[in-house]
Amino acid sequence: MAAAALCRALRAVQQVLPSACPRQVRSYYVDWRMLRDVKRRKVAYEHADERLRINAIRKNSILPKELQEVADKEIAALPRDSCPVRIRNRCVLTSRPRGVKRRWRISRIVFRHFADHAQMSGVQRAMW
């Protein structure tokens, strides 16, 4: 997410030169679940600040309780997809929800595939 945002910013700043060699571009997500996950991430990013501030009011021992109850209602009124808990770190290539290594964002099967073909930088078969 952050990487994508950064790439967008860079493109906006720099002039996009027409590439001489067109490369393959993925125009579809792997499956609908991945697409929904992408939507949730976007919405969560938009409402992140608000949620943080309203939660700061709620989880408080100083402010009056009435205020906190009002804040509870407000946060419940936000769209359901805005909470970060609903985001699932799926595999980027296969959309597998489980067995995903966070550093590479790919599932274990894909990781093994690439590592055996020596396409993972700095990854070696363990032997000790």
């Binding site: 950064l6 790439c7 967008r8 910013a9 860079l10 493109r11 700043v13 720099q14 996009v16 030169l17 027409p18 590439s19 001489a20 060699c21 600040d49 608000e50 501030r53 700061a56 009011i57 408080n60 100083i62 402010l63 009056p64 009435e66 205020l67 009002v70």
Partner: protein
């Protein structure tokens, strides 16, 4: 008269530890001239406040000073003229002792008891000058002065045996020192109770060092880092050249010649380029050229659509497919697919705000009530924000403003409570 003047000079010189000898001499001259006509008067009250010039020597300097102190105690009965500038000085032992010894030798070349204001001024100025110099120079100059004094005093008392000793030692070390200084050194050593040869050698070594430093400063040989670096690079090239020559000899003759020629050229060119780059005046060609097209661009109002299209066409035609992976990576970096290495974590961020704008956020709390739970809450918020290094100042201000808006909306509710 001459003798008196000399004596005065000695006394004055003995007084100062620092040693701008020329300044001292002029002071001494002035003093001498003032005092020449006057009668020497006893000033017992001022004996203790001897003419003690500034010395920045540490108290622990040691054996020499203690010995001087002993001699001083023994000679308290002497009558001598001292100025009030002694009040300004600090350690006086060595100089005082030397002065006492000089006075001994100078018999009764007494100076005037009267202290003219001029003398006082001169003395004060002289002492003030003393404070500026370095310690080592002080020591060295002190040593040299004391030697001069000792030499002059004990001209009659010098044993002939000590002089040739000093001279012999001096000549052994190459650089010829002033024979007077040598004599003075030997005289001083003889006067001290400790090992004579050691003291003489130490004093001479100090003198030599002092002379070397003064010579260097006269020549103007300040440390030039560029020269040092250029020298270093030249030295580094030679082993490489030697290696090349050796390898060249082993291979065929043609290769030897070719390699030698190439390496000589290559070795010469970087050396020349280095020298030519660093040395010489700037021609300011490129700076001028860069400024001109900027002005030209500013004069143009805005490029039309046709110009943009033309530029795009040209870029599309000239852009060749990447020949290798490096060019591919360059293209990706330009397009924004690849980050720039070394990775800069603050690429998008441009936080020009100073630290105090991040930390002292109380000025944004003006819209809130001064007392109550809300104020307490907001102060905690500000405390947390001040410790947050990840947000920019704008974001922090937005944060606080959001809270302000929120609480204003809830004012009715709050008033009910």
């Amino acid at each position: 008269m001459v003798g008196e003047v000399q004596g005065c000079k000695l006394q004055c010189a003995a007084g100062f530890t620092c040693l701008r000898l020329s300044a001292l001499l002029c002071f001494s001259d002035a003093v001498g001239k003032d005092q020449a006509g006057k009668v020497g008067a006893v000033q017992p009250g001022e004996e203790k406040l001897a003419w003690r010039p500034h010395s920045n020597l540490p108290v622990s300097e040691g054996g020499l000073q203690r010995s001087w102190r002993e001699t001083l105690c023994q000679k308290n009965g002497k009558q001598e003229l001292f100025s009030t500038s002694s009040v300004l000085s600090k350690d006086k032992d060595k100089s005082a002792a030397s002065k006492d010894s000089t006075h001994e030798g100078v018999a009764k070349k007494q100076e005037d008891g009267a202290e003219t204001p001029k003398q006082k001024l001169l003395d004060i100025i002289g002492n003030m000058k003393v404070e500026v110099t370095y310690r080592k120079k002080l020591q060295q100059l002190k040593a040299s002065e004391s030697k001069k004094q000792a030499m002059k005093q004990l001209e009659g008392l010098d044993s002939e045996g000590s002089v040739p000793q000093g001279i012999a030692e001096d000549t052994q070390r190459g650089k010829p020192l002033n024979p007077e200084l040598v004599k003075a050194a030997s005289a001083v050593a003889s006067s001290l109770p400790h090992n004579k040869k050691q003291t003489v050698s130490e004093l001479l070594a100090q003198l030599r060092r002092h002379e070397e430093t003064t010579d260097k400063q006269k020549e103007g040989g300040t440390i030039n880092i560029r020269n040092v670096i250029s020298e270093m690079t030249v030295k580094k090239q030679s082993p490489a050249q030697r290696g090349a020559r050796i390898s060249g000899r082993i291979s065929l003759q043609l290769d030897e010649d070719g390699q030698r020629i190439r390496r000589e050229r290559s070795s010469a060119q970087p050396g020349d380029s280095r020298r030519s780059l660093k040395v010489g005046k700037r021609l300011n060609i490129f700076t001028k050229a860069s400024t001109e097209p900027e002005h030209a661009l500013k004069t143009v109002s805005s490029p039309t659509i046709w110009d943009l299209e033309f530029a795009k066409e040209v870029a599309a035609v000239t852009a060749q497919p990447p020949r290798n992976g490096f060019e591919e990576m360059i293209q990706w970096t330009k397009e924004g697919i690849l980050w720039e290495y070394p990775i800069d974590n603050e690429v998008g961020m441009e936080d020009d705000a100073e630290f105090h704008e991040h930390i002292f956020l109380e000025k944004h709390l003006e819209g809130f009530p001064k007392e109550g739970p809300i104020r307490h809450f907001m102060e905690l918020v500000i405390c947390g924000l001040s410790k947050n290094p990840y947000l920019s100042v704008k974001q922090k201000v937005e944060h606080i403003e959001w809270f302000q808006n929120y609480f204003e909306e809830k004012k009715e509710l709050l008033q009910e409570i």
